[in-house]
Amino acid sequence: MSIKRFFLAPSEDLVQLSSQFRLVKETLRRNGSYLPATPDEPPEETQPYDADRTDDDSNFDRKNLCDPIEEFEEGKEPYVNQGSALLRTECNFFKFFLDGSIRTYYLGEQIEDNRSYPLIATEVASAAIKRADDGRASVSKLMRKVALLVPPSPPARPQTVRDLIELRANFSAVRSPIKLDIEQLERDIHQPGVDLRTSLLGKARAVMHEIEHTLARSLKREKGEWLILDGAIRRPEFLGLDETIGLAKSFSRNPVFHISGRFKDVVAMLSGLKEGARTVVFRHSGEGGDPVRKRVAFWYLRLRSGRGLQGPLQGIVKIDYRSRGDLLKADDIELVNTISRALLAEKYVSPYPTPRWHAHIYPIYVAENYIKSSLFSPLAFRGHFGGI
């Protein structure tokens, strides 16, 4: 009796991925010299990292002023008290919750023609949670992708890039639930002077947003079944999603608000915001070319205050929503109020004691956990693919 046969055979997708990584390795070795990283190299994300804020930062810079697009009484604070929360038992307003997750691995350095570049692999996934009317959460959909991130040419040799793109075509023909994708960093995205590794991580993030969007579009939603995306709306394609908001538990400190003829930064503007109240709705002023900046209306809502909170912005979430005009009309305001009240109900239950629990909502936390449990463990990833 063979002892080997007693143990679990690796799953089919794992076998496929391993063989695809092996082919990549052969290609790299054919075109240059590949220096693999040590197996105990940690995943790139082990450093403290605030994805929401990073995304939101990209929507603002110091020159960008934000103007209210909702009327409020001159001379008063731009706050709107929301009253009672819109509980699920009254109206299950938000039914879908979408999050994405990313894990990137530094695999080593490739040396070609006296130039080197890092090789980064990433595993990204996105999941949507659906909440039934009885409050139970279940997974609606999951999408996963494993990709090798390749720099532009140069520093990569054109032949290497061509070979890898050819491999990608071969891999995509394989019938397997998950296969290795090869993503090349676009030349125009990699800014001169920026560390290539940082640019590749940005590319990984873009890949994640891509599958988030694909998944969001594929959700079978009835009218009135609102979707919450975790984080700020940054990419224009998300603006095409109906009945969807972006919910950021952490946000940029960059915007400056033009209120009653005065300019306030975000802390100054939010310092007086009471629990259960929101700010008026803002939008970037000016006619910049960025479609997101042009079309996203946003406001802030304080979910929590007082006990357990340590900073002035804790307990506040930022809501991004596709604006429908320059100034909100009455029905727009009513919708904003409904969204805010429904969000106030989302604080029960909370994912305490996770980081930023005060502004986190539980269904998104469930989606996060589900995604994490679906990804390969770093140990398994390195064990199977890291040694290339």
Binding site: R5, L8, Y348, S350
Partner: protein, 570 residues
């Protein structure tokens, strides 16, 4: 399918057990048998031991904070992710074929993660209980699973009646009519399997009319009981060939709650209890504290010198009541006997006579000479295969010592029956003793009756005497009695009792489940089973006390008096 196995860093599956999460709409209970897929196409069968509901809240504080720091009125907008995790103890693996024909290799490796789990089928439960290895199956009851399936469970008679293991011990709190009922049901089961001709049964009635109707048709069997009998393959009929032995009462009448037709009256003359070859007087003095062995030396003297003569004239109130050459023949004679050796001091003689007087005085059981009464020792030695003796000791229990004496004397006679190799004796004799804690109580120096019971527990297996004993609390019975039992049944028992040493063979989850057992449910612990299982059983198929007394009440029976100090259960 009801769930999938789950193994985590902190809670791995092991050789002995595995965990599985439950699909939200499934109902599972402790003691359910489940099957999980395992390596090489095998299946591992387990029995559910414990279940816990978990959520993703890392602490209770998380839940408190989740409710806005203690707001009790707000409902959760999203209910927490939660599931019930069940942990099952491994009973068996279906095994893989080997080159050696008929031998399969069990896979005892831990079960992997995410393996489908379902309720075990009847054949899988049979594998779990080693049914294919049972040579002489004795139905013990039914396993009832939460999916509505009932599966008969049998044990190998060689492990219940010898020679591999023997004896049965039933414990549990009173009032659930479970312990005695179960023993009676099991005897019916054994008789139906082994055939009456090989088995003899001696049982002691310690509760009113409890066992005084065992040959009468049952009146309280429910359709469910009948169904269980049917599924176990046992005919539901009362015991046959029953002889009742009732204690002698005033005027030579039986001193019993009920007088069955085929009954005899038993009594004890002095000659029954002492001869030159045997003595059972020690059993009568069983409860007398005798730290200096003075009573023991007197009893030894009586046996050695038997038949006794008075040796000198005995005077009472200046009157000669016994002459020197007269023989000691009655209990009264023994009270006048004075011809003790010098080493036995007057104080010791007085103690002996005081206790003797206390034990036999005002008792109609001890007679100068038997007339129509029988001596139980002789009757027991005449026990044949297929005969059932019911010995009523309920009213004898005015002084517990007398009841203990009856039990001890019967058991000693049974031992003698085997020693004397009496022809026609049954292959096995089952002796049913309730309230074992009274007759063989715990303690470092057991009295003669307890020693007699212990002797049967220790050596009866090889001779064919099988003890079916019951008590409320194992901790109050002598450890040699219950520790020699190969099969244990435990009914509902309090947690403080379960925390005592006699139950240390049960894991804490089983103990916790035992505290929740219902009437008619028992946990079966058997030498051949890897884990305890829960069984149910039907009411025994004879007229039981409750129905018997209610009928008597309806008929205006006057036989309802209760003796004081009787064996009423608390």
């Amino acid at each position: 399918m009801i769930g999938k196995t789950t193994a985590t860093e902190n809670s791995p599956n092991t050789v002995d057990d595995f965990a599985f999460w439950l699909s939200p709409d499934k109902i599972v209970n402790p003691f359910d048998f489940v099957t999980a897929d395992h390596l090489r196409g095998t299946r591992t069968i387990g029995i559910v031991r414990e279940m816990m509901m978990i959520t993703d809240a890392p602490s209770h504080l998380s839940n408190y904070v989740s409710s806005e720091f203690g707001t009790v009125t707000t409902p959760p907008n999203t209910t927490r992710v939660s599931t019930t995790i069940a942990r099952a103890s491994v009973m068996a693996n279906t095994g893989i074929e080997t080159k050696r024909q008929g031998i399969s290799l069990e896979i005892n490796m831990p079960i992997e993660n995410d393996q489908p789990v379902r309720f075990a089928t009847a054949s899988e439960v049979a594998i779990a209980l080693g049914a294919e290895k049972i040579k002489q199956p004795v139905p013990m009851g039914l396993i009832e699973m939460s999916n509505g399936v009932s599966i008969p469970v049998s044990v190998d008679g060689r492990y219940l009646l010898g020679p591999e293991a023997a004896h049965l011990n039933v414990s549990g709190i009173s009032g659930l009519a479970t312990k005695t009922s179960y023993m009676m049901f099991l005897i019916q089961s054994i008789l139906s399997r082994y055939g009456h001709e090989k088995m003899g049964v001696v049982m002691f009635n310690v509760k009113q009319q409890d066992l005084l109707h065992v040959d009468e048709e049952a009146t309280d069997l429910t359709p469910l009981d009948l169904e269980i009998y049917k599924s176990l393959g046992i005919e539901s009929k009362p015991f046959a060939n029953v002889t009742y032995f009732l204690p002698r009462g005033p005027d030579g009448e039986p001193d019993s709650e009920h007088e069955p037709e085929n009954s005899k009256i038993y009594a004890y003359s002095l000659g029954d209890c002492v001869s030159d070859t045997r003595s059972s007087l020690d059993l009568l003095f069983s409860e007398v504290r005798d730290p200096d062995y003075t009573i023991a030396s007197i009893l030894e003297h009586l046996r050695e010198r038997w038949p006794l003569r008075f040796g000198r004239d005995v005077k009472h109130d200046d009157e000669t009541v016994r002459t020197a050459d007269q023989r000691v023949e009655t209990w009264e004679d023994l009270r006048f006997y004075e011809n003790f050796p010098r080493e036995i001091r007057p104080g010791s003689r007085g103690k002996f006579k005081r206790h003797l007087g206390r034990l036999i005085k005002n008792s109609d059981l001890f007679v100068p000479g038997r007339k129509h009464e029988v001596y139980l020792g002789d009757e027991v030695k005449r026990l044949k295969g297929g005969q059932i003796y019911v010995i009523d000791i309920f009213r004898v229990g005015k002084a517990e010592e007398r009841a203990a004496f009856v039990i001890g004397d019967v058991m000693r006679s049974l031992e003698e029956m085997y020693a004397e190799e009496i022809e026609g004796r049954p292959e096995k004799v089952i002796v049913v003793v309730d309230e074992l804690n009274k007759f063989a109580p715990k303690g470092s120096t057991p009295g003669p009756v307890a020693q007699q019971i212990i002797e049967v527990a220790r050596t009866g297996r090889s001779r064919g005497t099988v003890l079916f004993g019951a008590e409320q609390f194992k901790s109050e019975a002598h450890e040699q009695v219950y520790e020699n039992a190969g099969t244990h049944l435990i009914g509902r028992t309090g947690s403080s009792e379960l925390s005592t040493q006699p139950y240390s063979f049960l894991d804490k989850e089983t103990k916790s489940n035992v505290t929740r057992l219902e009437k008619g449910e028992l946990v079966l612990v058997h030498a051949a089973f890897r884990q305890p299982v829960k069984i149910v059983f039907p009411c025994p198929s004879y007229k039981r006390q409750e129905s018997a007394t209610s009928e008597a009440r309806e008929a205006g029976s006057t036989s309802t008096s209760k003796p004081d100090g009787a064996f009423s259960e608390s």
